[in-house]
């Protein structure tokens, strides 16, 4: 049985069905991401002044990743244009760039995630707070793990600055190192912090704070969309050539629909980037 309106426009909508379909789906996606953006605003506005983490994400990496995604968005539409002009070989070349960009984006994002999983904040029982790295760069280290391993002191390389503390709490761990700080070091030499003095220890994971809760929710959902979109684009690119040979127009429409989804994913990132990295 033939599926109706895969290439012919349906008389009442004036569209081939998949196109209206993808737009209805994108409408539901707008509501999904909209709900999370709304949550973000609520959490952000409700946070105590001065406590919302700021500057914990790597802006140059975020900017680069934004550029990668924008590039993939233009290659998607150029690849579709090539198909419209009947040039399958050109489409293959351009769409290959899209797929590489998608892999690049996910790769860079994973790198950023790993960076967070190995970056810690320690709340001392005396009220001091410090961010930095634990010796050996363990992932998801917790006080429970320290207790299980009977670790008595953690070797910790503090960052030179704290995102929320106005007072220079970090110097507290390094009163003798003023000169080095003046030289603008990002990381201070490691110190031993007794586990008994620690009230709380957390990597930059969702449990760390509301900020990381919403950060990981939004970016992971977005990354899933990137992976899903890339999978479809890859499938059409690599495994669906026989449709191009038998029904080029239908194939082109498939590529267009996958492209619409991809642009939406790009569009979401255009908002996520300034909101999470810069504001």
């Amino acid at each position: 049985m033939d599926i109706p309106y895969t290439t012919q426009a349906r008389p009442d909508t004036g569209l081939f069905n998949a196109k209206l379909g993808i737009w209805l789906f994108l409408a539901s996606e707008v509501m999904l991401f909209g709900a999370l953006f709304s949550s973000y605003i609520l959490l952000r506005v409700g946070a105590d002044p001065g406590t919302w983490p700021h500057g914990l994400l790597n802006i140059p990496i975020g900017t680069f990743n934004t550029t990668v995604l924008i590039t993939s968005s233009v290659t998607v539409v150029l690849a579709w244009s090539a198909l419209k002009m009947g040039d399958f070989a050109k489409y293959r070349k351009i769409q290959a760039v899209t797929i590489l960009c998608a892999l690049g984006f996910v790769g860079i994002k994973s790198f950023e995630y790993k960076d967070k999983f190995t970056h810690y904040e320690i709340w001392m029982k005396d009220g001091r707070r410090v961010t930095g790295h634990i010796e050996g760069n363990p992932w998801f280290y917790t006080l429970n793990k320290a207790a299980a391993q009977k670790v008595e002191a953690i070797t910790f390389a503090p960052d030179a600055h704290h995102y929320a503390e106005k007072w220079e709490g970090h110097k507290a761990f390094h009163t003798e190192l003023k000169a080095e700080e003046a030289a603008g070091a990002h990381h201070l030499p490691p110190v031993k912090i007794p586990v008994a003095d620690i009230k709380r220890l957390s990597a930059f994971v969702p449990a760390h704070s509301t900020y990381f809760g919403i950060y990981f929710t939004l970016t992971a959902l977005h990354a899933l969309h990137v992976i899903g979109g890339a999978a479809v684009i890859f499938y059409l690119w690599a495994l669906n050539k026989k449709l191009w040979l038998s029904d080029p127009e239908r194939y082109t429409n498939r590529v267009e629909v996958s492209g619409l989804f991809w642009h939406f994913v790009d569009l979401v990132w255009i908002f996520l980037f300034p909101v999470l990295y810069l504001l």
């Binding site: 012919q8 105590d48 802006i59 419209k84 007072w167 429409n253 790009d266």
Partner: protein
């Protein structure tokens, strides 16, 4: 562009569905537009990041500018890459309804403030830095 659509399709490529089916010639012209939009998006990204390093006195101004630039970029993507500049009514209607509920959802946090029973409002605690005396050791 919109008049290129419809049942009176005038080219082979436009003879079939899709809000923006065009002949190869037309698509060629569009390629230039896509490249221009791409450059605009890159400039927009550079602008967004550049503005981050400019310190405005008010957070409201910073947020407004950042979201304004992002909205312009998003509009470019939607209008040109997603061809919304010349689409079918069915799609516009769908998006109009979505836009309404999307906006409503973003305002939920304002409305929510009116539905808190008197006396139970959440008041952010005043931020008090840990005293300097805790430093050193």
């Amino acid at each position: 562009m919109a008049n290129a659509h419809g049942s009176h399709a005038h080219t082979h490529a436009a003879a079939h569905g899709g809000g923006h089916a065009h002949s190869a010639e037309e698509v060629k012209k569009h390629v230039k537009v896509y490249i221009a939009i791409f450059v605009a998006l890159l400039l927009g990204t550079a602008l967004t990041v550049g503005l981050y390093y400019v310190h405005f006195n008010s957070m409201a101004v910073t947020i407004t500018i950042a979201l304004f630039v992002a909205s312009v970029k998003a509009t470019l993507v939607a209008c040109y890459f997603m061809h919304l500049i010349s689409e079918r009514k069915a799609i516009y209607s769908t998006l109009a309804i979505t836009g309404f509920f999307f906006a409503a959802m973003l305002y939920l946090f304002i409305w929510s403030r009116h539905s808190v029973p008197a006396g139970t409002e959440y008041t952010p605690t005043k931020y008090t830095p840990i005293p300097m005396s805790n430093q050193g050791k």
